[in-house]
Subunit: 382 residues, 2 copies
């Protein structure tokens, strides 16, 4: 692909000839065509007035999808895991007591990061794929009285959607702030930052928002901002230090890092696509596609791993039936139809499929067309 | 720009209408048209075989522009400052003795990050815009006997290109490893990782490589890799932990973060553009454009801030003449001609212009056309 010739090619020939995939995995999801057009718009500098105009509108659009009036709502220049490290590193100092709800991979990742930033961690654990009841959540928090509580709202490794309200209420009783991982929910499900009382959340651009990866939206409540100001030590990370990033993007516009106007264009367009459809309509479309998927996959004889009423709408996790090798199914779908789905990992390796029905594919046709190929792949993999 | 309507717009109308800038600042630089085309190629997943093929070719292309055979050469999913934090955080543990050469803003930034990661820092300082002689460099290192040495090869805040060989030789005498900031040099000047003996370097995509920002190429020598393996404690940053990132991108392909295929396409295309022209030819083109710029700007009566022979080719820093308000010149160029250049900051605020002649603009025509507008702007700002 990459020429070793020394002649300048000006024939418009490019080195990338990517296969056309149908992205039915946990993310990245199918990119909306308008977003490619937005990225083709000419790059401007990271201190250009036009960049700050786009950035301000992006912040406004993010407040809408997060369901918040938090002033401090902006994209971090890294992927979703960078957003996780941003939130963790800003609210954890050496010795901070963190109460962590663990029933999946991304909760473990929060713990790993928090440890590196010096947290003292207490955990409430359940098997991967289960959720925490209101009573379990509240009694854990009341017993431990932590300074910070963290949980995963939409656990991408299991398909569980964790209700947030009881966790936040109990945390606020003991004066803790609450961190929520909204990587998979944002843009496809109601996240409800303000309605639930979540203090600090992060997400990504490549799942419910249907843009390419590269930025991580975060939102921080005024209450959590007070906590930031009261830190004893600076953040161990300079790149993820919210006081520096927010100064650059929202206050003085003083240079911190070179934000990518191209990625901001993509996110801006993604948010415009959401606004054009209407956020509530978009969420309902994902719910409807989810219900159609569940009905269809159950008709094929598969069982959903997560209890009804606790499932992520845009990421389905049916169990792999006895006698089926999930790797074969995935390879068949990719090889024959260019369809990407994912398998489980950790304790769920080989036990679940992870199938995202998101963005432009979250339609009746997107579900039916997928189920047809999926059925074919299962039959071919027995 | 962002509609609040609830109707789905499918007319291909997009929310981004960016102004066409001519990017003559220190970066981002003008994006090569082929790179926009590459980003329009369909997104694939971060675990897709095609993604790993692109990633592998990107690594190969980066080795070429870095001038290295280092196996561990890859892009970090963050901007140049994220690359800086990657390199600093992986080679600094609490108590590590760092010898730092400081004569500009980005050296200060290395120091700030290293402090947060626990370094004990000794500094050799010079006024912004000066370089370190071989003797000064060697005697500082021999006297201090640090574990890590860090310097900025191309100091974007001043325009100085620092020679690397004497620093690396002295560092190796005392068994230190050497970190170099190559953010502005890569793709436009010979970086010479192996020829100089640099152990760990980071750069960006939006300067000498003419791609949008979003990734940070890094390269690590086998010697430095040994140092990584001998760490007592894990990196304080999980996101920038090279052992996890390299496992994902080069060894097991185990998921670490969701790398952006779109940004990898852009970097791949940028490296293909370099290969098509030929790296040596490209560097010579930048040198020639630099010499033409210097001759032209001196003819306009300006003096270069950096001594001849120590200047970055693709980033020129003429002094602001007496009686000229640099902010007025910059505003005139942006408002009248859509041309972005930058001013100085810190001790050089109001004292220098920072003018990048890079990528597609590093031609006779690109220089002459700029100087004409620059002259006009200076006259209009008296």
């Amino acid at each position: 692909m990459m020429s070793s010739s020394t002649a300048v090619s000006t024939e418009g020939r490019i080195s990338i000839q990517a296969p056309k995939r149908l992205l039915y995995g946990p993310g990245p999801s199918q990119v909306h065509p308008r977003i490619y057009q937005a990225m083709a718009q000419p790059l401007v500098g990271h201190l250009d007035p036009y960049f700050f105009q786009v950035s301000q509108e992006v912040q406004k659009g993010l407040r809408s999808v997060f369901g918040t009036s938090n002033e401090l709502t902006l994209p971090i220049s890294a992927t979703g895991s960078g957003g996780m490290e941003t939130v963790v590193s800003n609210f954890i100092e050496p010795g901070t007591k963190l109460a962590l709800f663990v029933s999946g991979f991304f909760a473990e990742r929060i713990g790993e990061m928090a440890k590196r930033h010096g947290a003292e961690i207490v955990r409430l654990e359940k098997p991967w794929g289960e959720y925490f009841s209101d009573d379990e959540a509240a009694s854990f928090i009341r017993r431990e009285r932590p300074q910070v509580v963290a949980f995963v709202q939409a656990e991408t490794s299991t398909g569980v959607f964790q209700q947030s309200k009881a966790i936040c209420d109990a945390a606020h009783e003991v004066d803790a702030i609450v961190i929520a991982d909204c990587v998979t929910s944002l843009g496809a499900m109601p996240v409800g930052i303000d309605a639930n009382g979540i203090d600090a959340a992060y997400s990504c651009t490549q799942k419910g928002l249907s843009a390419p990866p590269g930025l991580s939206p975060v939102t921080i409540s005024p209450r959590a901002q007070e906590r930031l100001k009261a830190r004893r030590l600076p953040n161990r990370s300079w790149y993820f230090d919210l006081s520096l990033i927010s100064d650059y993007l929202t206050v003085s516009h003083r240079y911190h890092h070179t934000a990518s106007a191209t990625l901001f264009y993509a996110l801006h367009e993604a948010l415009a696509v959401v606004a054009d459809e209407g956020l509530a309509q978009r969420q309902q479309r994902h719910k409807k596609a989810h219900e159609r998927f569940v009905a269809g996959v159950e008709k094929l004889g598969l069982k959903m791993h997560v209890a009804e009423g606790h499932r992520i709408w845009n990421l389905n996790t049916p169990r792999v039936p006895e006698g089926i090798d999930d790797a074969k199914v995935r390879a068949y779908l990719l090889g024959k139809h260019g369809i990407e789905i994912a398998g489980g990992f950790g304790p769920l390796a080989g036990k679940i499929f992870r199938i995202g029905i998101m963005g432009p594919l979250a339609t009746d046709e997107g579900v039916d067309s997928f189920l047809e190929k999926f059925d074919e792949a299962m039959k071919a993999s027995r």
